[in-house]
């Protein structure tokens, strides 16, 4: 009996594949090297479905040199557990897949159909299954529904999608070459100049992305507002007050604005007429990932990475199609009617689906295409579990967007009443929805604020009750938020739909940006200044975009991965050599900022409750124990101190204790959950225990 081994990307996907392909009974859950896999019988064929846990292999240096050494040009693909500590799960996973491959005759890559999924499966088949990549087939699917998975297995591609896998390999290799060399150059320069270690990093996409934020910060920091004036005017129409706007949106010269006020003060206005315009608003296009992330941020405040995580959970639950897509197309092959009938079972959508099913179904598609997947759409499957609130929100947004794309255009009317006061014209504006069209389905996500004008007749007199000047100033450009920065990256065509959200998270993690309205830190400005001074091309959007294009060419089989990697090395070599030659110069520029960064990382927000000086994490020179001490010790003789856990990596959190308001600390110890505690409450409890122990002396107990 032939045995087929299918590699899925995640355990949930493996279960769905096993369930879909099983023709007799239930899939049997078994385990190999402690890692679960599924065994199913499909006619005469035995199928083993195992899963990876994301990437099991990674790019790493060939020569295992010290972390401080650079440049590094030679690399290999190595098991992740060889390179990163604590990757026990990945190690066991490779062992399990290797053992299963020994008893298998056929191989199928069943990972998600995109660059990363193709790469994950290819590398596992090549390295863990003894070169099975040469004989393996490829399943292509966009949803994890049983019907589509069965179809994908029966009609599997006869060979792996090598061009996609090579494009993925190339991206990882090029990013590794950039990251390792540039980050080591920055870190070592700072270390040698300041004798203090602080991880500084940049990358192929990270550098240009950070530049957007830093340049915006610079624009805001050097902004000089300009004055202008508005006329705040209120008119009385049939006993009701309305704000009207002057025909000149704003006055740039104060004397002209003052003259207008003088002209109109105390006078009545006359209605000259009402202009109405009817226009139609087309339905929205289906969601690609970026549009979904932008809308989820706008409506729910979810960061792009969180939205992607939630969408992936919905995909693994068979509720939506594959979310990592750049397509705005919904081909008829997804089965519009079937999806709508499925959604009709869910109460809030029942009436909408009935309305749509009564008409002709043609979605309003956008221009963007993705060769691998359609736009994000609901599969029509009813949730089998109760979705957590954020999942429910994203699911609702996706369903309503899908329904809206089939809706009719909305018809709106905008009204403008013209009121003449002296020689000045004022406008009273209104708007209303005439036909709801698609906005009915989009519900809370479609703006439909009606402003109805009062009935007005030509020649009607209205009384100006108030007119005064309002001082205004031009505003600096707004700071980026995760949604708008993601859009900027997409417009600049840097990064991919799958990696952009992670890059934004890295900017926060590295301390380059802070807060939701992204503020570039001084460290970010310094790093960007250094890179633009010593290697401007590294943060040049155009250059990064060209590299992206080359990787897309690999996907299309028009360029070879080797050529792009060699080109990258040849390009980076002189840059890195120059950075190395100028280490001390760069180090000088980084010294003060690194020093400040280290100081910030050990200084608490909460001041000393005794003397008000700042509190810092310090280590006793005598006992070598760490504790929180008062920085005012040398000035005020303050001896305030709080104990700290002695083991694990300590981080000061940007959160305060709910009980006493003191800053919380987090301790990370390998193999354990991070421990969050309040040093002050801990000390109070310790002291209480001591007091209790003293009170309950043996004598008292008697």
């Amino acid at each position: 009996m032939a045995t087929t081994l299918i590699i899925a990307e995640k355990p949930d996907a493996a279960l769905h594949i096993a369930e879909a392909l099983c023709t007799s009974g239930e899939p049997r859950k078994r385990s190999q090297a402690g890692v679960p896999f599924f065994e199913v019988q499909r006619g005469e064929e035995r199928i083993l479905v195992c899963s990876a846990v994301g990437h099991l292999y990674t790019v790493a240096s060939k020569n295992d040199e010290r972390r401080s050494e650079y440049p590094v040009w030679d690399f290999l693909w190595k098991p992740k557990h060889f390179v990163e500590r604590g990757r026990v799960r990945q190690e066991k996973c490779i062992q399990s897949i290797t053992e299963l491959s020994k008893i298998s005759d056929r191989f199928v890559n069943g990972c998600d159909f995109d660059v990363e999924g193709s790469l994950i499966g290819y590398v596992i088949l090549k390295y863990a299954c003894n070169g099975a990549d040469k004989v393996a087939k490829r399943m292509k699917f966009s949803t994890l529904t049983a019907k589509e998975l069965r179809e994908a297995y029966v009609r599997a591609m006869p060979a792996l999608d090598f061009s996609l896998a090579y494009a993925g390999m190339c991206r990882h290799e090029v990013d590794w070459l950039y990251g390792i060399n540039l980050s080591r150059a920055l870190t070592q320069s700072a270390l040698k100049a300041s004798k203090r270690y602080s991880t500084l990093s940049t990358g192929r996409v990270q550098g240009p992305t950070l530049r957007f934020v830093v340049e915006r910060e610079r624009e805001i920091g050097t902004f000089v507002p300009h004055p202008y004036w508005l006329l705040q005017t209120t008119v009385d129409i049939d006993g009701k007050l309305f704000e009207v706007e002057h025909e000149r949106e704003r006055f740039d010269v104060m004397s002209q604005a003052e003259r207008a006020v003088a002209d109109c003060a105390g006078k009545d206005g006359v209605v000259e007429g009402v202009e109405s315009r009817t226009y139609s608003v087309s339905p929205p296009t289906p969601f690609d990932l970026s549009a979904l992330q932008a809308d989820a941020y706008r409506h729910f405040g979810l960061t792009p990475r969180v939205t992607l995580g939630l969408a992936e959970r919905l995909y693994l639950d068979q509720l939506i199609s594959y979310p990592r897509t750049s397509s705005q197309k919904l081909p008829p092959s997804i089965g519009y009617e079937e999806v709508l009938r499925g959604l009709g079972i869910i109460e809030p959508y029942r009436s909408f689906t009935q309305m749509l099913l009564a008409g002709v179904l043609v979605p309003n598609e956008g221009r963007k295409e993705d060769p691998a997947h359609p736009a994000v759409y609901p599969t029509g499957t009813v949730p089998k579990r109760s979705l957590e609130p954020r999942e429910q929100k994203v699911f609702d947004l996706i369903v309503r967007r899908f329904l809206s794309t089939f809706g009719k255009p909305a018809t709106k009317q905008s009204d403008k009443a013209i009121i003449k006061v002296d020689k000045h014209a004022f406008f009273l504006r209104g708007s209303r929805v005439l036909e709801k069209g698609w906005t009915l389905y989009y519900g809370p996500y479609a703006k439909t604020d009606d402003v109805i004008l009062p009935p007005l007749k030509r020649g009607q007199h209205v009384h100006v009750t108030n007119i005064r000047l309002q001082d205004k100033y031009t505003q600096p450009p707004p700071r980026y938020n995760p949604g708008s920065l993601l859009k900027e990256m997409e417009d600049a065509e840097i990064g991919t739909k799958a990696t952009r959200a992670d890059i934004l998270e890295t900017l926060y993690k590295r301390g380059y940006v802070k807060e939701q309205r992204m503020i570039a830190t001084p460290l970010a400005s310094t790093i960007t200044e250094i890179l633009s001074k010593f290697c401007p091309k590294v943060i040049d959007v155009k250059f990064t975009r060209e590299l992206e294009t080359k990787m897309q060419q690999i996907e299309l089989g028009k360029m070879s991965r080797e050529n792009v990697v060699v080109e990258t090395v040849n390009y980076l070599k002189p840059i890195i050599n120059e950075l190395k030659a100028k280490e001390s110069e760069i180090g000088k520029e980084l010294t003060s900022i690194v020093g400040r960064r280290i100081t910030e990382s050990i200084t608490l927000i909460s001041p000393c409750p005794k003397c008000g000086s700042s509190l810092r994490i310090v280590r006793s020179p005598r006992t070598k124990k760490r504790f929180i001490g008062c920085a005012g010790k040398w000035k005020t003789n303050c001896v305030f101190a709080l104990p700290l856990p002695q083991f694990g990596a300590l981080t000061l959190l940007n959160k305060r204790c709910a009980e006493c308001g003191f800053q919380l600390v987090q301790v990370r110890t390998r193999g354990r959950r991070p421990l969050v505690s309040c040093p002050r409450c801990y000390a109070t409890r310790q002291n209480a225990t001591k007091v209790e122990a003293v009170t309950m002396s043996p004598l008292d107990q008697k």
């Binding site: 920091g221 050097t222 000089v224 507002p225 300009h226 104060m254």
Partner: protein, 76 residues
Amino acid sequence: MSNECSLCERRKDESAQFCPFHLAAAKNLEDSYVKWRDAYGEDFTKELYYAKLEHLDETGQGVKDVLPLLRKSVTR
């Protein structure tokens, strides 16, 4: 001559007074005066201009850093 900007820790060119960030702020400040004078009238002085900008939330931090130095030079 120090290579550090007199307003922050950033490095500056030897011949320059400020770092590139504060230089840009100072340039914007000088360039914008004409617009403010056009808006308020010919008798709008630089002193008044600086005083107004100092208290506006919209004014960039770099500009606010430079303002005291420029105000001093006007007073002299």
